[in-house]
């Protein structure tokens, strides 16, 4: 008989489904860190988890929703934001959070992203940007830098295309809160996620993450630890910088911070007001 050792439970396990552990993610992946950020943000805010809906699309990050102990929705590729808009407008009492990847949100779902920013529906979108399609084995995507290598932009030429800067895209599309952090800036990123959730409007938080298995390997960026160390080295905090100056260059500089925090009439609030007026109230 061995003496049973007390199992230390993770402080966030109250929000995370332990029965679904271990995570499907590769070692060195950033998605687990970001999952933790979101759990902590929910915990710090003390919001009713039962009234929180977490929606995701398809891909590695798309699997995030299923790890939360609440109403979760794993939708089709690219459609997390559109789905979430329907949920939020149909029941504005729900706190709606979308967590998905860069490919899901800005390639196949790019149209929904820009239009949701424009509409200003109260929801939080957390986009984990690992600069490639991880789940399908590492193809280039809309955030892959020029001349970087991937399964579909192989050596010796690399990527012919140029990446989106998602902060600029969200800001110019009309999002009312826009921030960017790297996966290693967990405390600051968590704080921004809290602000994003609290913001009455469309919030976009980009977290630059590492995909050592696919993107890292193909571009010889090192293992997970090396990549995360690098993120810390190149991250440069510039809170309040005009969003169009929030440059992102993986090798040399990733500008981080909160770039947009503006007030604009929020869709569901305006709708409720219209409905009151229509009823003559």
């Amino acid at each position: 008989m061995t003496e049973s050792t007390p199992v230390l439970r993770h402080p966030m396990s109250k929000y995370i489904r332990e029965d679904r552990q271990p995570f499907i993610y590769c070692s060195g992946c950033s998605i687990g860190i970001v999952t933790g950020m979101l759990a902590r943000a929910i915990d710090n805010l003390g919001i009713d988890i039962n009234k929180t809906v977490i929606v995701s699309g398809i891909g590695c990050t798309g699997r995030t929703s299923g790890y939360f102990k609440t109403g979760t929705y794993h939708t089709t590729h690219g459609r997390a934001i559109a789905f979430a808009e329907g949920v939020k407008i149909a029941n504005p009492e729900l706190e709606v959070i979308v967590v998905s990847g860069d490919g899901d949100i800005s390639a196949i779902g790019g149209n929904h992203l820009i239009h949701a920013c424009r509409r200003n529906i109260d929801m939080t979108v957390i986009c984990i940007n690992n600069m490639n399609y991880g789940m399908t084995g590492g193809q280039f995507g809309p955030t892959t830098e020029h001349e970087r290598y991937s399964q579909t932009s192989p050596r010796p030429y690399g990527n012919l295309e140029h990446p989106f800067n998602l902060v600029k895209l969200a800001a110019s599309s009309g999002a009312t809160f826009v921030a960017r952090w790297t996966a290693v800036q967990a405390r600051r990123a968590t704080k921004s996620i809290e602000k994003a959730i609290e913001k009455e409007g469309f919030s976009f938080v980009e977290i630059i993450g590492a995909c050592p298995t696919a993107y890292g390997r193909m571009n010889r960026l090192g293992d997970g630890v090396t990549m995360h160390k690098h993120l810390l080295e190149v991250a440069e905090i510039q809170n309040g910088l005009p969003p169009h100056e929030a440059e992102l260059d993986y090798a040399t500089k990733i500008i981080c911070g909160e770039f947009v925090n503006i007030e604009k009439p929020e869709y569901t609030a305006v709708l409720a007001e219209m409905q009151r007026k229509a009823k003559g109230e």
């Binding site: 299923g66 979760t72 929705y73 089709t76 559109a82 407008i89 409905q275």
Partner: protein
Amino acid sequence: MEITFNIGGAAGQGIDTIGDLLNQVFVQAGFYTFTIKDFESRIRGGYNFIQIRVSDKPIHASVDHVDVIIALSKDAVIGQRDRLTQGGVIIFDEGIEFDDLEACHFSAPLEKTAREVGGNIRMMNAAALGAVLAVISFPFSLAEKALTGIFGRKGEKIVAGNVNVAKALYDLTKSDFKGTCSYNLETLDQGPCKAKLLLTGNKALALGAIAANLKWISSYPMSPSTSLFENIVAYSHQLKIGALQTEDEIASITMAIGASYAGARSMVTTSGGGFSLMVEALGFAAMVEVPIVIYNAQRPGPSTGLPTRIEQSDLLFMGFASQGEFPRIMLAPKDPIEGFDVATRAFNLADKFQIPVMILGDQYFADSVMNIPRIDASGVKRDQGKLAKSGPDSDYKRYLLTKDGISPRAFPGDKGKTIVSSGNVHREDGHITEDSEMRTLMVQKFMNKIPAIMTELNPPQVYGEEKSEITLLTWGSTWGAANEAVEVLASGGVSINQLHFCDVFPLRTAKLREVFSQSKQVISVEQNITSQFASLVRMQIGLGVTQHINKYDGRPMTPGWIISELEEGGIV
């Protein structure tokens, strides 16, 4: 009494307004009317027309001939004059120059009178009305009553102006028109029809959806579906309906699925091209068992096709769209009255079976106007299907395996319940699984719904003699033309009836088998080239129709056309 009018002109000239006036006059006077709209896919110019058929008996189809033409452009004369019946009349504004004037032509000062008598060029519509009514000797007192009813809300001045202009043209036509018109309605009394509600199929669907407690609609504009969306948008704030015009059809249906997941009765409206974009999400709705109502106002395809014209060519596409296998229901209303009923049933069926329900219309159904009796919405039943008991339930499973395949629904935010869903294959609790046994059970769960769906759907209807030698097999909006063709032929001694389907998918087969064993000839009449419904029938019961009648020029079927096809085929 039966008379057909054709009002033609360029887009933007106001032919719709003249049509509305004429329609209202005859509806107020107690007649049945049936109006089709034929227009090009353009905003200004071109040649558009509306055809208004008026009768003292119920009518449900357009016809090939015309008795009185009101032409606002030269094209409108040229486009229709070959269809003019003996004793018919063509009225046009004196501004349109014609060098080959015939006795049946009447060049009238429509614009001039509107300006001089009414002080407003817009009253040209009333002027046209006055000229038409004079030509057919329609009692002006009845017209005056109708005009007062139509313009009453706009105040006495507008009423008086319109009545004066109409009367001026009426009198002028009486004295100046030298031709003869075979229609003389001088002694006309109030007609027998009490139905006063002028409704298109799209509007009927909108009203049905509202009566069914629609709470969400998200759409992207696409002819000929758009007017349904617009009709609901007009009332959305008052009725607390979320109505959102999306960036594309993919967003439309995905948002609607989201709203439905949150508990709102949801629908989307589109046409074939938009439905093509929705197909992936159709499968998603099926996989996550979220109820959704999809309206496809079909149009001639493929691609952009003919945006404003008629075809029934999306039946098989919609029946089998999406990867994977799952149950779905398809309903094809024949006219506005059935449209209202179909809309209310669609939401109940979607909720009850937690599946996509698709309504198939086309431009003929969507835009044609009929006067129908007032709709009593108090009889509309709302059945949300199986709902989970309220209160906390930590064991709640959104996809609980049950005998009938239907799991009680709960909604995010419900106290003490966690709702988990995924487009991947999932377990009863909604979490992803790759387990082979669970996959098998979940596929069977879908299919276990079908027996109850079959009993819930309406059987097809036989029109005419129950047992006949010839049966016309129809579905959706072609009902009216085929129905009248059957009536005409049967009254001439032909043994012919009609078997008509509104609930087209999944197909109820009992009546079909019966008809195939009774009738010597079963002839499909469809607005497509490949007889899609007949193909579906053969697929389901292994029996093929004896002949096909197909129309795929984008123009409406008429009773006369169907009869001539039957004659050419040596059938009658």
